[in-house]
Each structure stands twice: as structure tokens, then as C-alpha cells.
């Protein structure tokens, strides 16, 4: 505030100060702002979130091929068919597997890299860039690239196997291995994002606490476990939240890689919705999947916020 050169005792500044009336933020005072700014946001939210969700719930009670309006009411038959479908059960299992792997492999990897790259040293920006690049790539592009890498005839896997003189594994065509191949791509794609979150978190930490710990004789590992990690707590919780919600919606990566996989072994809820709902012109069934996915996501989102992020 260097432009204010009047000193405190100056009569003109006192008068000026008296003339400024400070309005307390009562509801009455904020009403005009509320009336102007709330409706557009509510409208957008209703139009793009509430309305489609309501419609999906309504469609899920019909047998409908996606054209015109639904006419054949079937009640909860779609849900019955859904939960009896082996492919959907596999999709649920796969989603859970992706969440578990994301939490157990991706986040520790991201934290480890963030700790290494969080400080200022030569070339650290280049490393951050390289690790973040997979996240920037479009999901479909990443899927196509890795499909080629995994290709048993002409891909990178084939070349490496040929170099070592072993038979090439056709990972994407193998019922048991395909899901792990997909998981590898998921980890490769998203660890950079979490790493950046943690780097940001690390940089907001108070350096003096770290120095104090060092002076007190804590080893690197002890410093990490007892000082850094607890302080990073809110970032870790946020990261876990993103990982879970992202894992539930995985679709773009899987379609070019396996399309749901040999014998539905790499189906997730959204790929199931697409292959069994949309392409088979069974939009009612697809909507039922959508409702199930919505319920799961909302439960996790609200439950998680309430339980883990209460103090963040």
C-alpha cells in the first residue's frame, strides 16, 4: 500500500475513513448477489447432472432401444438381468481391483517420486515433465500406443521376447493376464498426476519443521514417516479420492486396448455399459448400469468426505 502516503494523524485521511461505511455481510445485503449468481449455477447443475440422472433412472425401468421414447415398461427386470450377468460381476471385480492397485501401487510410487523431485536441483523440471507427460496424453491415444507395445507379433513385447529368445506372451489375448496389462497402463498413465499433487503438497510444507527434525537426529526414513507423511495427510486423502473416483469411471483406456477383453476379463462398469447397453441397442439395461454406477460413486464420494476428509 505504498500509494497511501497520508500519515495517521492527518485530518483528511480520518474524514475519508469515516466516510467509508463497512457493510456487514447479512443475508439481506447479499440477496441481490445470490439472486443473480445462484440460478445460472443451479440451472447448469440441474440440466447436466440432476436431469440426466433422473432420466437414466426412469429409462432403467424400461426395455428401450434408444430411439424415440421408451414404451415397454419392465420394472426392475433390467437390474435383475444385470446382477445375474457374469460379465457385470467381473466388471465390478475389475473396478475394485483397479481401485486397490491404484491405492497400493500408484500412490506410494507417486509419493516416492515426489519426495525425490520435490526439491530444487539441476534437471528436476525435466524429470517432472517426463513423468507428467503420460497424464497429458489422451486416454484413447495411450490405449492405442500400448496396444501396439503389447502386440505379440510386431510390438515392443515381441521384440524384447525375441531378444531374450523366449516365446512372446500375447498378453492382451490372454484371459488371465489381460487385466494386469491394463493395470500396468493405468499406473503408467496416472502416477504423474498424483506425483504433481504431492510435489505441490510438499512445497507448501514448512521447511523449518523439517530442519528441526534433522537437527534432532531423525533419519531420512524417520523424517519421512513421522514428519512429511502426516503433514501431507490432506494431499494424500485428496489423491486417494481422485484415484478412487477415476478408477470407477475407467473406459477410454480399456476400449482401444482390449474392448472389454478376452471373455469379458477386462470389463469395467462403463465398458460394460457401452458394450452391453449402447451397442446392443439395450439402452434400458445401460441406464440400469448407469444408476448402479451413480449410487456407488455418490456413496463413496459422500462417505469418504464425511469420514476421512472431515478436517481438511
Amino acid at each position: 500500500m505504498s500509494h497511501m502516503t497520508a500519515s495517521v494523524g492527518d485530518p483528511s485521511s480520518l474524514d475519508a475513513a469515516k466516510k467509508v461505511r463497512y457493510k456487514s455481510p447479512t443475508a439481506r445485503g447479499r440477496l441481490p448477489a445470490l439472486i443473480i449468481f445462484l440460478p445460472p449455477a443451479l440451472l447448469l447443475f440441474t440440466l447436466f447432472v440432476i436431469l440426466p440422472m433422473g432420466e437414466a433412472a426412469w429409462y432403467s425401468l424400461y426395455r428401450w432401444n434408444g430411439y424415440g421414447t421408451p414404451t415397454e415398461f419392465v420394472g426392475v427386470r433390467n437390474f435383475k438381468v444385470l446382477f445375474n450377468n457374469a460379465a457385470f460381476s467381473q466388471a465390478l471385480i475389475n473396478n475394485a481391483l483397479i481401485i486397490v492397485v491404484s491405492l497400493l501401487l500408484q500412490i506410494p510410487l507417486a509419493i516416492w517420486l515426489a519426495v525425490m523431485l520435490g526439491r530444487k536441483m539441476a534437471g528436476v523440471v525435466a524429470f517432472r515433465l517426463v513423468f507428467f507427460l503420460p497424464y497429458v496424453l489422451a486416454d484413447v491415444a495411450a490405449g492405442l500406443i500400448w496396444r501396439f507395445v503389447y502386440d505379440g507379433d510386431y510390438g515392443l513385447f515381441a521384440a524384447v521376447a525375441g531378444f531374450f529368445g523366449v516365446a512372446t506372451p500375447y498378453v492382451l489375448a490372454d484371459r488371465d493376464l489381460a487385466i494386469y496389462a491394463v493395470l500396468a497402463v493405468v499406473i503408467w498413465k496416472y502416477f504423474g498426476f498424483h506425483m504433481m499433487l504431492f510435489i505441490a503438497g510438499l512445497q507448501s510444507l514448512d521447511k523449518s519443521i523439517m530442519e528441526a527434525a534433522e537437527i534432532d537426529g531423525a533419519t531420512g526414513w524417520q523424517r519421512f514417516r513421522y514428519v512429511t507423511l502426516p503433514l501431507l495427510g490432506s494431499t494424500v486423502r485428496l489423491s486417494v479420492f481422485f484415484a478412487i473416483i477415476g478408477s470407477l469411471q475407467l473406459f477410454d483406456l480399456i476400449m482401444p486396448l482390449t474392448g472389454g477383453g478376452p471373455s469379458n476379463s477386462t470389463q469395467t462398469m462403463v465398458t460394460f455399459l457401452y458394450t452391453y447397453g449402447v451397442t446392443r441397442m439395450q439402452v434400458g439395461l445401460g441406464s440400469a448400469v448407469g444408476v448402479v454406477l451413480f449410487v456407488i460413486c455418490v456413496t463413496i464420494a459422500f462417505g469418504y468426505k464425511r469420514v476421512f476428509m472431515r478436517h481438511d
Binding site: N65, G66, Y67, G68, V81, D151, G152, D153, Y154, T168, Y170, L172, A173, D174, R175, A178, T258, G259, P262, S263, N264, Y274, T275, V278, T279, R280, M281, Q282
Partner: protein, 432 residues
């Protein structure tokens, strides 16, 4: 800045803006006079696309106010995107169709233009330019919903060199057991017997379809399709599945076949990595295009034989599985689009296309020029057919069709028994 200068500069700016706006308006006027015809297809062979573009250009010269745009989507992507596309503003004027239950469902949704009147105008003038079977095949509930374009049949193509190397003679493969014997011989010689497209699934459902046709015959399949009798639980259908499982146990396919798409499968055959392929009549140019070196197998290195008979089966070896392909016209298509379509499928145009070996025409009397050896063989087989059945996954509709695809792959890879597979298909049919 003097007042005068500002004035002149302002006038110049205004004049510039006015002329730009005027030019843009004129430009828009010129563009608006053009009718755009959007033509969506799945063709991948460059030579064929060039032919189409020539036809389009020929039409455009005769009709300067029409602009024909060819749009391409790969087979599986096309099938997946079409429902969404047909309901959007980006719907093409006409699109490739395999007929069957899928076309019927699309027609029932009201997204397609009813062509019956146009076809039957002037004493069936337009309809008569096609083979009667072709028009009948694309008619549902008395209404014609697609313009016939081509017919095709699926048969075995084999690599002559690899057969010679293993000592297998194609002429000796007359029955299903002969075929299994050939597969065993090829495998013993260290050659991959069959190229299979398990990733896309529908290439493998040809095997199940043919076996059902050979075992049960037309009556059983028609009954199953119409939910009569035992449907797909008929013993002959179960037997067909068991024969399929037998083939699967021999592990006749290339490594990684469960993830192979159709273009990849064609490539495997074209690279000489597998001896046989159960494919369309235009397999020869398609394998050339998809081979690793772009050259594929030489034309005289490819042989062809029909799907073998099943001893004791009700079906005949002259029954053919294959397509009756046409162009579905969307509701909002312009008259120019319909007119161009009529031109594209006219007898003269189809004669040209047949002469280049590109299609087996659905137009009447257009086959004389068909000289390409392999396509000619398929055409002759079609001409003598006792029962031409459309692809199961198209004929049974989008939902049951895909269950058939899934089940075929599951039976072949040993994940499902024939009984379970037939039950799954029957359940899906009953839900319709």
C-alpha cells in the same frame, strides 16, 4: 490525430468491413446452393474407394449442385457408433447395411426412410433393376428399407504353398471330419491352420453359424429365429456347438487370436502365417491391403473351397452363409442423395464394379463382366444356392447377434460348453 484523418481512417475501416461481410455472404450463398450428400461406408481397400470416388465425381459433373462426401468408419467402430449417429444431426444420408434384424430394428425406430413407394413407382421401375431375392431380403413387414448393393458368401480361402508344404489337398476336404483332419495335418507340419479374429468375435461366429446351418438346416434355424419349438436348444444346434468345441480343442488358431481384430486376422493370412481363413468373397484384395508388406499373398497362391458338409446333417453343402448388403437411407436424406444412390446401384455402375472384381452385384444382369477368379467362384456358388442365410449376428438383431458372437468365441476357446452357449442364446432371444 486530426479530426479529418480519423474520419478517413474510419471510412476505410467501414468499407473494408462491409466488403468482407458481403464476400462472406456471397460465399455462404454459393455454399448453400450445394446439396451435401453424406455417404458412410466401411470399405478399406484403397482401389475400391478410388472407384467410388470416380463414380461420385461422374455424378457430380452431371449434377454440379451436389457435393458427395465419403465418410469412413472401421467395421466394429461403425456398428458401435451407428445408433448414436442415426439420432444426431451428423447422421449420414445413407450408410452401409448388412440387413437382417439390425436393419429391421433401425427401421422400427423410425430413423430410416421408407423406400417402398420410390421403389414401386412406375410399375416397380426401380425395384426391377435388382435381383428379386435382393429386394426381398431387405424388405421387412412389407416395407423396403435399404437399397440393395451387393451379395456375398463366406467360404474358406487357403494358402496353396502352405497346403502343399503340409501335403493337404483342398479338393479332398468334403466333410467336417475331412476338415478336422486337414487341421491336424497342418498343425503336425508346424503350420498354423487357421487365422481367427477372436478380438472382433464375429469372424469366429461364421464357424458356429455354418455348423448350425449344416446340422439343422433351414427349418431349425428359422424356427429358432422365430422363437418356435425348442429354439436354440434344438439337439442339432447343440451338436453344432459340440463340433465347434472339437475344433477349438485342436487349437487351430494363431497365437493371440483372442485379441486379433479382423484387419489383423487378414494380415496374419496375408503374411503367410496361417493356412486358412473363413472369409468374405473379397478376401483376396483385403488380405493384400492388411498384410505387413502391403503385398500379401499372390493371387494364384490363394485357393478357395466351400464350407464342408456335415455327414448326416439336415443342411446341404450348397446352403450359403453370407451377406446381402445394401445402403440404408436415413429419414432426413435429400432427394439428391436418393438419386445418387439409385445411380450408384444402377445396372451400368454395378456392371463396372463387378467387372473390376469388387462386388457380386445385387443388380439384375450385371454379372457378365465378373472375371476375377475367386470372386467368380463365390458368385457361382451364390447363383446355385439352395438357402442363402444372412449373417447370424445381423439377422438375429443387435442384442441376440452379439450374444451369438460372444458364445462362439467362448465355445471355441473352451470357456463354455455347447449346451451353456445355446442356453445363453436362447435366453437372449426370449428377452427380445
Amino acid at each position: 490525430m486530426t479530426y479529418n484523418k480519423v474520419n478517413i481512417r474510419g471510412v476505410r475501416r467501414y468499407a473494408f468491413a462491409a466488403t468482407t461481410a458481403l464476400t462472406m455472404l456471397l460465399g455462404v450463398q454459393a455454399a448453400a446452393a450445394q446439396t451435401v450428400v453424406k455417404w458412410m461406408h466401411v470399405e478399406t481397400v484403397p482401389a475400391y474407394i478410388e472407384k467410388w470416388e470416380d463414380i461420385a465425381k461422374a455424378y457430380e459433373t452431371k449434377h454440379p449442385d451436389v457435393d458427395i462426401q465419403l465418410q469412413f468408419l472401421e467395421n466394429e467402430a461403425f456398428k458401435a457408433k451407428l445408433p448414436t449417429l442415426l439420432q444426431s444431426d451428423a447422421a449420414p444420408d445413407f450408410f452401409y447395411s448388412w440387413g437382417g434384424g439390425v436393419l429391421r430394428q433401425q427401421a422400427q425406430t423410425g430413423a430410416l426412410m421408407d423406400l417402398t413407394e420410390a421403389m414401386n413407382a412406375d410399375n416397380d421401375a426401380w425395384a426391377k433393376t435388382y435381383k428379386p431375392a435382393a429386394v426381398a431380403g431387405l424388405t421387412f413387414d412389407g416395407k423396403i428399407h435399404a437399397v440393395p448393393y451387393r451379395m456375398g458368401t463366406v467360404s474358406f480361402f487357403y494358402n496353396r504353398d502352405l497346403f502343399a508344404k503340409a501335403g493337404v489337398k483342398a479338393e479332398d476336404i468334403k466333410t467336417w471330419n475331412d476338415f478336422l483332419g486337414a487341421v491336424k495335418t497342418l498343425k503336425a507340419a508346424g503350420i498354423t491352420p487357421i487365422a481367427g479374429g477372436g478380438g472382433d468375435k464375429w469372424p469366429l461366429h461364421f464357424y458356429w453359424s455354418y455348423l448350425v446351418m449344416r446340422n439343422g438346416g433351414q427349418e431349425v434355424f428359422e424356427a429358432a429365429k422365430n422363437k418356435q419349438g425348442e429354439g436354440f436348444m434344438d439337439p442339432t444346434v447343440i451338436k453344432a456347438g459340440e463340433q465347434l468345441a472339437e475344433l477349438g480343442k485342436l487349437e487351430p488358431f494363431q497365437n493371440g487370436y483372442l485379441g486379433a481384430s479382423w484387419p489383423q486376422t487378414l494380415g496374419t493370412f496375408g503374411d503367410g502365417k496361417a493356412a486358412m481363413l473363413l472369409g468374405f468373397e473379397n478376401t483376396e484384395p483385403n488380405q493384400r491391403k492388411n498384410a505387413g508388406d502391403g503385398k500379401g499373398l499372390a493371387s494364384d497362391n490363394i485357393g478357395r473351397f466351400a464350407f464342408p458338409a456335415v455327414e448326416g446333417g439336415a443342411g446341404k453343402v450348397t446352403d450359403t452363409l453370407g451377406g446381402l448388403n445394401g445402403w440404408g437411407v436415413t429419414k432426413g436424406a435429400s432427394p439428391a442423395a436418393v438419386d445418387f444412390l439409385r445411380f450408384l446401384t444402377s445396372q451400368e455402375t454395378e456392371r463396372e464394379l463387378a467387372a473390376s472384381g469388387m462386388i457380386i452385384p445385387a443388380a439384375a444382369n450385371a454379372e457378365e463382366g465378373l472375371k476375377d477368379r475367386l470372386v467368380r467362384e463365390s458368385a457361382d456358388q451364390l447363383a446355385a444356392t439352395t438357402w442363402h442365410q444372412n449373417f447370424f449376428d445381423q439377422d438375429l438383431g443387435p442384442s441376440v447377434g452379439r450374444v451369438v458372437n460372444d458364445v462362439s468365441v467362448e465355445i471355441l476357446s473352451g470357456q463354455m460348453s455347447s449346451q451353456e452357449g445355446a442356453q445363453a442364446i436362447q435366453d437372449a432371444t426370449e428377452l427380445e
